[in-house]
Structure formats: structure tokens, C-alpha cells
């Protein structure tokens, strides 16, 4: 027994020694490994640890406002009260949503969206539960928050457009950053960031956007912020305000004046080129887009035949019609095809080959000179002028007055329209130009296509004789002493004849727009020209029988009503162009709103105000 114990004892001691050595080797290996990890590679891991620990949180800058020329905000920021969900703190989402629906209304679609987002996002990314809450609901939610674990109140920035649809086309709107616009810039990936998608918001996005700030925060493994480290934080630099040449009150006046019409208005400050009114009706509510428009709302906007999403004032093209006649008149005098006093007999129609060309007045105007032809808008006179000029000379003159040029005011959505010439027709159709086409071009019909802003530019250039270029940003307005607008290469005589004709339109008792009764601003005279853009071709049969009136036609086939005007006639300040799509006659439909808008503009002009009060004083002073 003892012997056996001794033997096995010796054996055990040997084996135990072997095992202990093996164990010690194991511990030695661990020590070596720890030495490598904690001493040799320590720097590397310390860096990784800091990376874990600290995170830079992006601070979204406050977006710059958009102001009108008087400093009134057209686009500003409001508090967006919202509730966020922290998925990692929620155990039973369904129960939470039931609780939540006692405070706020949740649609089934909204529930589905929240659940989907909570499932898909990483646990540490907050999910927006509800947005744009009113203050009382938000306050109520805050009161009940202790019972709703995982719900966090938050105040974000919401873009607000106080004038809604009236400014929509100019201002555009902001929205989430679309995927194709996302770059490496972290701000673009921030869920709270909104980027300008159209209009000024898009064009001036870099300026409005500002610069993101960064906040160094200590985060947990789940990305939850443990504390903010104020020291190395850079504050977000808010975006700059953008000041537009628009006048909010007059733009709104114009929008109200044309309510219900499918119309476009463009006004230009003739001296500077500033654009105080740029309107396209009907509009859309950009606030809907800023909040995220619903599919049904968007489809309704797309389906509307008045095209509310389309900026007609820059992109809509219409035959300039009779509004084009002053340009033809300038061309005719410049090229000496008439002296202006020459009378042309209007019988209501002329024949060219076997085709008949009609005047809008069936009985004809009798013999008319240039002044009469513009004032009464005689077609026959301008057929003759066009025939004498030829299309290429009309084309060249039209370009000088702004036709064929895309004025998009740097906000996009512009259209160059079309000014045809012989080369164009050959290139486009492969056929040669016919004289009939020259004739109808003389009265602004045919291939000619112009945008409302081109019509306003034409008016401003006719009125001033200078190459006025429109602009929308106040920063682009030249200072008074720097007004260095290039003069047009036309004689004062030629321009004067066109202006006299346009004054006659409004002020002569026989003018086409004399029923307007003028501006109504003392002795200040206005000049203008109406146009009725034909949309359909009037067949011979119909013409022989009776030309159908506009109100007998479906909306889509009615004529476009156009009116261009400027005032004061003696010292031009503002030019206005109004196009009412399928509105009917230019002088009856487009002229009254154009006159009213022009009057509003002049009432805001200090020089005109001084002139009016001076006239009053003179009147008051006369009896004494």
C-alpha cells in the first residue's frame, strides 16, 4: 500500500511538473501577447479608442432668408415642432403608437412608415414620428413624455413661404437632397438638411445654405450622445439672405388681379432692368413641397391643364401677335421702306397670289399712316411693311429687342422662344421661305414665339432705346452712377414713331385700348400695345360665314390675350407685359390688369410720387 502510493506519487509529481510547465507556458504566451497588445501596439489602439469615443456631430446651418426689394421676407424659417423616436429605447413599438395616437393623429400609412423606418434604420438613428405639430399639441406631448419612453421632442427648422403660390415659381422650394445630388459633403447626407430644388432656392442654394458646424460629442457604442464637448465645436454659419428685386405687395396685387386665370405677368424697371413682378398663375403652394407633398396632391398639380407647376412668365411661349407691330415699325423706318407718313389703304384684306390675308377689322381701316396703324393695330399696314422688309430684316430687328434670347433670370425654366428667318426654315423643314409667312410674321403670328419676359424686355427697350437686361437679384442692380446700359442702334425717329403709336393706343380716342381710360395718375400718360394671339387657324368657310367668338370655343382653342405697356410715356420707368392664356382679346382681357399693375408700380416709385404731389400742389395753388 505504502509502496504503491510512493510509486504513483513519484509518477504524479513528474506528470504534474510537465503539466504545470505547460500551464506556465500558456500563461507566458498570454503575457507576451498582452505585452504586444498593450505596450507595442498601444498607440494604434489608443487612436482607435478615441475614434470610438468621439464623434463629430453636424450642426445644420440656418438657411438664409429670401427678401423682397423692401426687405420683406418671402421665404423664412419657422420652428418645426416634431416628435422623434429613439428605436433603441423602445421595447413595444405597437403599444407606444397606440399611446401616441391619443395625443396626435396617426394615419395607417404613417404607422407603417414609422415601423418600417424603425426596423430599417440603425438602432441609434432617430425616426421622425410626427412633424409640424402646432404648439398646443406639442406642449401636450411634452407633458405626457415621461409615459412615452423612447419619444423625444425636437424643434427643427421648417422653410415657410408666407405668400404661398404667389411667389412659388420665382422662389421655388426646398426639399430633401435627392440621391443623385448627394456628394461626399456630409451636410448633404444629414437627414435634417433641405436643399433648394427649384427657383431662387436652387439658384442661390450655395449662398442660402450657409456652412455646417460641428459639435464634438462623446458617444456610446450605440451612437447615443453621452455628452457634448463644447471646446472644439465650430458653430454653424447661417446662410446669407438673398434680396430679390421683386416687390411683395405688387406681386401679390398682380396675383389677386389675375386670380383664376392662366396668366403670366412680367414687369421691368426700365432704368435698371430690375424685375419687380414676375408672376405665373395659377401657382402651387411651395409649403407643401417643403413639408413633403403627398402623392395625390402632386398628381393633381400635374394633371391641371392650367399647368400650375410651370413658370409661364419665363418659359411659356406665345405668338407675340400685334404686340410685335412696334418692332416691325422700327425696322421699317430704320431700313427706310417707309417714311412713316405714307398712308396705306386698308380694305380689310389683301391678296397675295391666290391667298387672302385679312385684317382683324373686316371693314378695313381705310388709308392709315404708321401712327394710325399702330394705334388701331391695322394688320394690312404691317403685312405691307413686312413684305417690303423681308423676313431676315424683321428677324434681325426682333433679336435686338430681346426676342429669341433666353431670359431665365438665373433661376432656370426660361425659354428662348423662336424668331424665324429663311435659314432657319431651310434647316428646320428643308423648304424655302414663302412670302405669306413673311406677311403673318409682320403681325407677330406664324412661327414667332415669345415669352412674357421677352415681351416686357421688348417694351422696356422700345421705351428707353437702350439694351435693358432684366435681373432678379438686387446684387445685380447697377448703382445709379454705374448705369451703363448699352444703347440700341436705332434712331430716335424710328423709336419715337413706335412710341407715339403705343401712346396713341392708350391715349388717343381712336386707340385700341382707349377704353381703359389711361392710368388715372394725373397727367401721366401710358403707352401700350395689345395683342390677340391666335391659337387656331380660321378656315375660309368659317370666315365667310361668321368667325366664332371666343366664348363659343372650348378654353383650349380660345385666343391668347396679350398686353404690353409702359409709363410714364414721357419718362419711362416701368414696363409691364401680361399674357392671359386663352383669355380672348388683348385690349379687353389683358390690358386692364396690366394697367392696374403698372399703376401700382408707379405709385411705389418716389419720382412719380413727387411728380404727382407736385402736380397737386400746382393745381391747388392755381386759384390763389
Amino acid at each position: 500500500m505504502a509502496r504503491r502510493d510512493e510509486d504513483s506519487g513519484a509518477l504524479f509529481t513528474r506528470r504534474a511538473l510537465v503539466l504545470s510547465l505547460a500551464g506556465l507556458a500558456g500563461f507566458g504566451a498570454l503575457s507576451a501577447r498582452l505585452y504586444k497588445l498593450q505596450i507595442l501596439e498601444s498607440d494604434r489602439y489608443r487612436g482607435l479608442s478615441d475614434e470610438n469615443q468621439f464623434n463629430y456631430q453636424l450642426l445644420v446651418p440656418s438657411r438664409g432668408r429670401i427678401l423682397d426689394r423692401n426687405g420683406v421676407p418671402l421665404a423664412e424659417n419657422a420652428d418645426n415642432f416634431r416628435l422623434l423616436l429613439e428605436p433603441e429605447q423602445v421595447h413595444d413599438l405597437d403599444a407606444l403608437l397606440v399611446q401616441l395616437s391619443k395625443i396626435v393623429t396617426l394615419t395607417d400609412a404613417g404607422r407603417a412608415r414609422i415601423k418600417k423606418a424603425a426596423r430599417r434604420r440603425s438602432k441609434s438613428t432617430a425616426v421622425v414620428l410626427v412633424e409640424n405639430l402646432d404648439w398646443s399639441t406639442f406642449a401636450k406631448a411634452n407633458l405626457l413624455l415621461p409615459e412615452l419612453s423612447g419619444v423625444r421632442p425636437d424643434v427643427a427648422e421648417l422653410r415657410v413661404y408666407p405668400d404661398g403660390p404667389y411667389m412659388a415659381h420665382v422662389l421655388g422650394y426646398v426639399g430633401r437632397v435627392p440621391e443623385d445630388m448627394q456628394t461626399d459633403e456630409p451636410l448633404l447626407r444629414h437627414p435634417g438638411f433641405r436643399i433648394g430644388r427649384t427657383g431662387v432656392e436652387k439658384a442661390k442654394d450655395q449662398l442660402l445654405r450657409g456652412e455646417a458646424g460641428a459639435l464634438k460629442v462623446e458617444v456610446s457604442a450605440l451612437g447615443r450622445v453621452v455628452r457634448e464637448l463644447p471646446d472644439p465645436a465650430t458653430r454653424a454659419r447661417p446662410g446669407k439672405d438673398v434680396v430679390l428685386t421683386l416687390d411683395r405687395s405688387i406681386q401679390n396685387f398682380a396675383a389677386n388681379r389675375l386670380e383664376g386665370q392662366s396668366a403670366a405677368v412680367c414687369a421691368i424697371d426700365i432704368q435698371t432692368g430690375a424685375v419687380p413682378v414676375l408672376l405665373s398663375t395659377p401657382g402651387f403652394d411651395p409649403n407643401l413641397f417643403a413639408m413633403g407633398i403627398s402623392g395625390t396632391d402632386y398628381k393633381a398639380l400635374l394633371a391641371d391643364d392650367h399647368k400650375p407647376l410651370f413658370n409661364k412668365s419665363l418659359g411659356g411661349t406665345y405668338p407675340p401677335a400685334s404686340c410685335f407691330k412696334p418692332v416691325v415699325a422700327v425696322a421699317a423706318l430704320t431700313h427706310g421702306v417707309t417714311d412713316g407718313k405714307e398712308r396705306i389703304r386698308c380694305t380689310g384684306k389683301i391678296k397675295l397670289g391666290d391667298r387672302e390675308f385679312h385684317c382683324w377689322k373686316r371693314k378695313g381701316h381705310g388709308p392709315v399712316n404708321m401712327l394710325g396703324a399702330i394705334g388701331t393695330s391695322c394688320d394690312i399696314y404691317f403685312y405691307e411693311m413686312a413684305r417690303r422688309l423681308g423676313i431676315d430684316r424683321i428677324h434681325d430687328t426682333a433679336l435686338e429687342f430681346g426676342f429669341g434670347h433666353n431670359f431665365d433670370l438665373d433661376i432656370g425654366g426660361g425659354n428662348a422662344g423662336l424668331v424665324p428667318d429663311q435659314a432657319w426654315k431651310r434647316a428646320r423643314f428643308g423648304t424655302s421661305w414663302s412670302q405669306g409667312e413673311t406677311l403673318i410674321s409682320g403681325i407677330g403670328q406664324g412661327y414667332l414665339a415669345a415669352t412674357p419676359i421677352q415681351l416686357a424686355v421688348m417694351t422696356a427697350r422700345l421705351a428707353s432705346g437702350r439694351k435693358v437686361v432684366p435681373h432678379l437679384m438686387v446684387q445685380d442692380t447697377p448703382a445709379p452712377d454705374e448705369l451703363d446700359v448699352q444703347g440700341l442702334d436705332y434712331s430716335l425717329e424710328a423709336l419715337g414713331a413706335a412710341r407715339a403709336g403705343m401712346i396713341a393706343v392708350c391715349e388717343a380716342p381712336w386707340g385700341t385700348a382707349h377704353r381703359l381710360g389711361g392710368l388715372g395718375l394725373g397727367d401721366i400718360q401710358m403707352a401700350g400695345k395689345s395683342g390677340t394671339g391666335q391659337v387656331r387657324r380660321i378656315s375660309k368657310v368659317e370666315r365667310d360665314d361668321r368667325v366664332r367668338k371666343n366664348n363659343e370655343l372650348p378654353w383650349k382653342l380660345r385666343d391668347h390675350a396679350l398686353f404690353v405697356t409702359y409709363a410714364p410715356a414721357d419718362r419711362p420707368r416701368y414696363a409691364v407685359a401680361v399674357v392671359v392664356e386663352h383669355g380672348g382679346g388683348g385690349s379687353s382681357v389683358a390690358a386692364p390688369p396690366a394697367r392696374d399693375i403698372l399703376r401700382e408700380l408707379l405709385r411705389s416709385d418716389p419720382v412719380t410720387i413727387a411728380r404727382l404731389s407736385g402736380a397737386e400742389q400746382a393745381n391747388n395753388g392755381a386759384p390763389t
Binding site: F12, G26, L34, S220
Partner: protein, 384 residues
Amino acid sequence: MNEFRVARIERTIPFRVKIARINWMLVLLLCLAAMTGVAVLYSIADGSWTPRAAQHGVRFGVLLLVMLGLALIDIRWWMSLAYPTYMIAILLLVGVELVGVKVMGAQRWLQLGPVRLQPAEIMKLALVLALARYYHGLAIERATSIRHLAIPALMIAAPVLLILHQPDLGTAMLVGATGVAMVFLAGLSWRVIIIGGITGLIGGIAFLIFGLHDYQRARIETFLNPESDPLGAGYHILQSKIALGSGGLTGKGFLGGTQSHLNFLPEKQTDFVFTALGEEFGFIGTLSVLILYVLILMTGMMIAGRSRHTFGRLATAGVCVTFALYVLVNISMVIGLIPVVGVPLPLISYGGTVMLTVMIGFALVMNMHIYRDAELPTGRGFFL
């Protein structure tokens, strides 16, 4: 050592002598380890005694008293309970198969009334006791021969296979390795060891290729290349290495571990407690803990070598092997030497079951120390 050899064989030992023979060095070392655990758990809770640090300390205190109490029990009781304990552990493992509670994909727990226990944990000690008991009754020549390997092989294989089926690869390997180490210590001839080693290696490789569960395979794959998927399955290992590495020589200071405090560490109270320690106390801290463990093991092995009987030697050594494997596997895991297996760091990790196992194991060691010179029967019955 010779002076002990001549000591007389004792039949009974007076209580006074028993108390005198308590190895206070071992008690001190165990206390040090447990206090380290308390300190780390206190730090992980951001300097709070709740929820774990205080409980860890109290639990250790209670178990220390239990340990000392158990150590004073007559060694023959332990011996007679060896086979029955083993049988009960086997039955419980079978019970787990049939009515076990599934937690995270593995069926490891058994609900017995209010108590929920992990039979695999009991088996660790039961196997040690049973093997020691078996070899105690075996003549030395027989212990070395291959013919008498069948019974211990069966005794090891049965629980290993049952635990493997739960599935709990880590514990199965731990239990298996402990058994094999004991067979080795009992004196199996080198020839058999070499042949068996080669066979085992081939079998092991075959098992790794064909017999693994998906989650186990994933763990091994991530282990081989943790950086490939830093936020996925390799996350644990990588974050653990970052924590340890960023600790440097002296650590980030008590309560200063950013990785552990900011929740980058998984299971920081249990399996990854060593990482939290290494982050705050640096290489000095980790090396100190390693040395502490080595001291505990050396004390244990000296007790084993000092024992006059095979039962005492093998049982003590078995407990030491189990303890050593816990430490080696856990630390290898957190520093990325082996795949992540759920093995805690004894005495420092928070958790009642493991501390219970370890403290009962050391009760056994202490008992063997007190009864080192006792004469034990060599009967081959079920009890004695």
C-alpha cells in the same frame, strides 16, 4: 518534502487541527482575486456598488464561508459521494436534453422548482471527483495501461458528448480537456498518449469541418479575420483589443476606461471583464492578475503534490486544471487568440454559477490539504 513523507497516516483529525491546517495563503489569494472582481465591477457601473460590485463581494464572502465549512468535512464523505454526484450530473445533463430551457439557441439550463441550474457546471467538478475516485482504487500498473483506459474514457466521453449536444462547445472542451489532463496525471503511458493525441487531432479537425453549428463556425471564421467585419461578428474581438491596447502600460486609470464605460465592450461584466480591467489598469494590471492566478494554481499544485493519496492528488490537480483552463481560455478569447466562447474569468467575472463551481472546487482542494495524510479505503463500490 521528505519531512512530510514520514508523517504518520491519520485516521481521524481533531477539529482544532483541521482549523490549524487551513491554507490561509490560498484563502488570501482567492480573496485578492475576488476583490479585483469587485473593483472592476464597481468601475464598470460608473463607480457604483450596485448593481453588481457589492453583490459580487457579498456572494464571495458567503461562498468563502461555505468553502471553509465544506473543507472541514471528512474526506471520506467526499470520496463516497464521487460516483453518486457524477451519476446525478449525467442524469441532469440528460434531463437538459429532454426538458431543458432554451436560452439564446442553446439548451443549457434546467429549471428545478425555483432553482435554475446549469448541469454542465456541476459536471466539471463531478468528473474530477469521479476520475480521482476511479484512479484511487486502481493499481499504478493498471492506470498506465491502455486496457484500463476504457472506463475513464467512457466517463469523460459521456458528459462531453451530452454538453456538446446542447450545444456548448466551450464547456464541452473544458470538461474534456480536464478529463484528459487527469488521465495524463494518473500515469497513462506516453505511447498511448501519443497515439491518442494523433487520433484526437484528426477527429478534432474532422469535427471542426463537419460537426459545427453555424454560429460556432461564424465565430471561428470571424476569429480568423476579425477586421473583415468590424461591426458584425468580429465586433467583440476588435473592440476588446482596442480596449486592452488603448490601456497601454498603466491604463486609463480607475473609472477611466472609455471603451467599457461607453458600452463598446460586450459582456463586460462577465466574459469580457478582463478587457475592462486591462483598459483601466494597463499592462501592469493584466500582468498582476495573471501572476495572481499563477500563484493560486501553484498553491493548488503544491497541495496536490503534498497529498499522500491518489484521490487527493488527482482531485486537487483536477480542480487546478479546470481553474487554469477557465483563465487561459477566457484571456485567450478576449485578446483574440481563440474564438469567442462563453467562458468567464473565475472569481473576477460576475456570475453566481461559476463562482459556486470555483469555490466548491477550492473547498475540495482545501479539504485535500487538511486530509493530506489521511488513510483512505481503496474499495471499488459505488459509495466506498
